[in-house]
């Protein structure tokens, strides 16, 4: 070995030097945390006041206002994501720990780990294609009248309600023989694709003849004209998808730590297996499961990328699942890149609140993970 071939003092010095290098590494790793906390407090704390927590964003360029809707929106999205992600994750975790053959369980664990590595932006795209696009549902009905003067058509649905659609040069008409508004046949069955703007007005994208083929192709091809479908539901779903594999894996881990004798005792007393799981195993591991849920919530609370084109953001209050909703990370992002000093100032305050929220969640994790069956790591 090379160990003994060198001068002893030199070797001792080198060892000491490398110790110092390792300490320096540890300090350098901690440094960004100190820096970010310092700047968050320095730049954000002074903007935290009652108006910030309760107010709505002011219009561009004017000062004041707050992020009340974004804070509430983030909490609503977290709740929604948990409603989607927790039951599925816990049930799946129960299956892995209590049922299932080694082979299937191995695959499920593998899939869950693969899902954990999927970039969050990809989840946003999936939720967009799943929810945002179909929610921009086309309006089906018959053309009741064509108003050439106002360049609009009135369409009556089979349910009886009518709606006016503006038809301009950007609107695509997919009719045999009809290339302009005036030649649209009254009484024809049509599908109107439209997008709803933030102010409630609509922009008509296309008017096409009904027919199975038309509907089918329209759905596949016209992905991008669906921007009216941004919704809290889509955002919550994207976040819920991220939570599922996380909750599943942590649930399995804590259930396995419940002593086997608990189950045997319950079964020996004649309790059905599902009751054993629901009444004995799950309550015993409850703290661990809560830990896993909080961990997953902490992971998604700060996510911005999956919300960019699902929840989309909203400058108003919204408590409807089918409408765009404000979220703290989105608000921070749009205020940070905006050219207004006052918005930048509020972005810092919002970031301080968001970091406080994620730290609170991880403090919860620490609190609940001090349970009886904690793994000795």
């Amino acid at each position: 070995m090379t160990v003994s071939s060198k001068n002893h003092a030199y070797r001792k010095f080198k060892s000491l030097a490398m110790n110092v290098v390792c300490i320096a590494c540890a300090l350098l790793v901690i440094l960004p945390l100190a820096l970010i906390l310092f700047y968050l407090i320095q730049k954000g704390a002074s903007s935290l006041n009652w108006a910030f927590f309760t107010g709505l964003p002011k219009s561009a360029g004017s000062t004041g206002g707050g992020m009340g809707n974004a804070i509430v929106g983030t909490l609503e999205l977290l709740l929604l994501a948990s409603i989607i992600g927790v039951p599925v994750g816990v049930l799946g975790g129960v299956y892995l720990a209590e049922y299932g053959g080694e082979r299937l369980n191995g695959w499920i664990r593998f899939w869950a780990d693969v899902l954990n590595g999927v970039p969050s932006i990809v989840w946003g795209m999936v939720a967009w294609a799943l929810i945002v696009v179909p929610m921009a549902a086309p309006f089906r009905g018959t053309i009741k009248s064509v108003n050439a003067a106002e360049s609009s058509i009135t369409v009556q649905s089979s349910a009886g309600d009518t709606q006016d659609f503006t038809v301009d040069s950007k609107t695509r008409l997919k009719f045999k023989g009809a290339t302009q508004l005036s030649s649209l046949p009254v009484g024809a069955d049509v599908v109107v694709w439209f997008e709803r703007k933030g102010d409630g007005s609509t922009v008509t994208d296309s008017v096409s003849e009904t027919g199975l083929w038309n509907l089918f192709t329209a759905k596949i091809i016209k992905l991008h004209n669906a921007f009216s479908g941004f919704s809290a539901l889509a955002g919550g779903l994207a976040l819920g998808f991220i939570m599922i594999p996380l909750v599943l894996r942590t649930t399995e881990e804590v259930l396995v730590l419940v002593p086997r004798s608990y189950r045997e005792a319950a079964l020996a007393l004649g309790l059905a297996q599902w009751k054993t799981i629901v009444r004995i195993v799950l309550p015993t591991a409850l703290r661990g499961i809560i830990t896993g849920v909080l961990l997953a919530m902490g992971r998604v609370a700060g996510e911005t990328a999956p919300l960019l084109f699902t929840a989309f953001g909203n400058s108003n209050w919204n408590h409807h699942l089918s409408e765009p909703i404000a979220a703290l990370p989105l608000q921070i992002f749009s205020y940070a890149i905006a050219p207004y000093d006052d918005w930048n100032r509020q972005a810092w305050a919002g970031a301080l609140v968001l970091v406080a929220l994620t730290f609170l969640l991880s403090a919860g994790v620490r609190f609940f993970s001090r349970g009886r069956f904690q793994k000795n790591t």
């Binding site: 070995m1 975790g93 499920i108 932006i121 990809v122 795209m125």
Partner: protein, 327 residues
């Protein structure tokens, strides 16, 4: 391992036979419910792949394999190639690894072998806190604090000292590949550190004791008995960090400049797969552009899945082999 109470189905045990059929049905129903929950992960995986493939269809038909080597990204002339985004992703991630891995391994060594025991827990808690800071907050901090500092101090010095290298030539904007790499490095520090720590911990103490017994100094023990022994596991830790870095979106988008770029200068603004998608998705003007963005997402998904699987195989093969040997 695991609890295997159910290798024999419940319905075949005497107890279940005596129970009324309603209870047996409930038992079976609950089992199916749990199975459904577990299978959701498989369905989700298929769903992700299928949705991205479906979205990317148009672009795949139009550009074929040429998409991966196309250098232009021009929404106006509807000419789309992924190479600038792949380039930006790879370079920023490599920069991040070059910075983060040595720091993380050094910290992991300190935490497992050197630090006084009562310091270890608080220090790892602090590193976990680092992981709890959201991406958009790093972006905000990077954009307003880090970029001006780097532009005024580190980058001119780099250019002065290492300017003969092509990487450090060209105008300094502050935002760009190197800045994105630095932010990414900060963001992957916690995961690389904690996995490295786990890997170093699973190196058997016998290994260390043997080296000490041969008269090795502390550092020699670390180098010969620990590091070279744990090499494969540490590669795995780095690969897990790489998987994170590849898919990171918000912070990168805020400091990289969002300009498709292929070239040698690390000071130049660029774009990554994830930041490109996030930046252009809602503003896509045509079906083809949207579809091309979906294909970027598909490339990103494929690469991250591959890297993550490799990383997990490496880390798991190492840590389980070691724990088995120790046990």
């Amino acid at each position: 391992m695991g609890v295997q109470m159910t290798t024999t189905p419940a319905s075949k045990t005497p107890a279940a036979n005596r129970a009324p059929s309603g209870a047996r049905l409930a038992d079976r129903g609950f089992r199916w419910l749990c199975l459904a929950g577990a299978l959701v992960v498989g369905v989700l995986l298929l769903l992700v792949i299928w949705q991205l493939l479906r979205g990317a269809r148009l672009s795949m038909d139009r550009f074929g394999w040429g998409f991966f080597i196309g250098k232009t990204w021009d929404p106006v002339s509807e000419e789309f190639g992924a190479l600038p985004f792949i380039f930006g992703t790879v370079v920023s991630s490599i920069v991040a690894l070059l910075i983060a891995v040595p720091l993380s391994v050094g910290t992991a060594i300190y935490l497992t072998d050197l630090a006084p025991p009562r310091l270890r827990q608080p220090l790892s808690s602090l590193i976990e806190m680092l992981a709890a800071v959201p991406s958009v907050v790093w972006g905000l901090w990077g954009f307003f604090i880090l970029v001006p500092i780097l532009r005024a101090t580190l980058y001119p010095v780099l250019q002065k000292c290492l300017g003969f290298l092509p990487f450090f030539q060209g105008p300094i904007y502050g935002i760009g590949l190197l800045t994105a790499g630095i932010i990414l490095a900060i963001m992957i520090l916690p995961i690389v550190t904690s996995i490295s720590r786990e890997v170093l911990r699973s190196v058997p103490n016998l290994q260390r004791e043997a080296a000490y017994a041969l008269g090795a100094t502390r550092w020699e023990v670390t180098r010969i008995a620990v590091l070279s022994y744990a090499r494969r596991g540490l590669f795995g830790a780095a690969a897990l960090g790489l998987g994170r870095a590849l898919g990171e979106t918000m912070a990168v988008m805020m400091v990289i400049g969002n300009t498709p770029y292929i070239g040698l200068s690390l000071f130049h603004p660029a774009s990554t797969l994830a930041s490109g998608v996030a930046n252009e998705f809602t503003e896509a003007t045509g079906d083809l552009q949207l579809s091309a963005l979906f294909e970027l997402g598909l490339v990103l998904l494929g690469v991250t899945i591959l890297v993550n699987i490799l990383a997990q195989v490496m880390v798991r093969a190492f840590t389980t082999a070691e724990t088995r040997r120790v046990a």
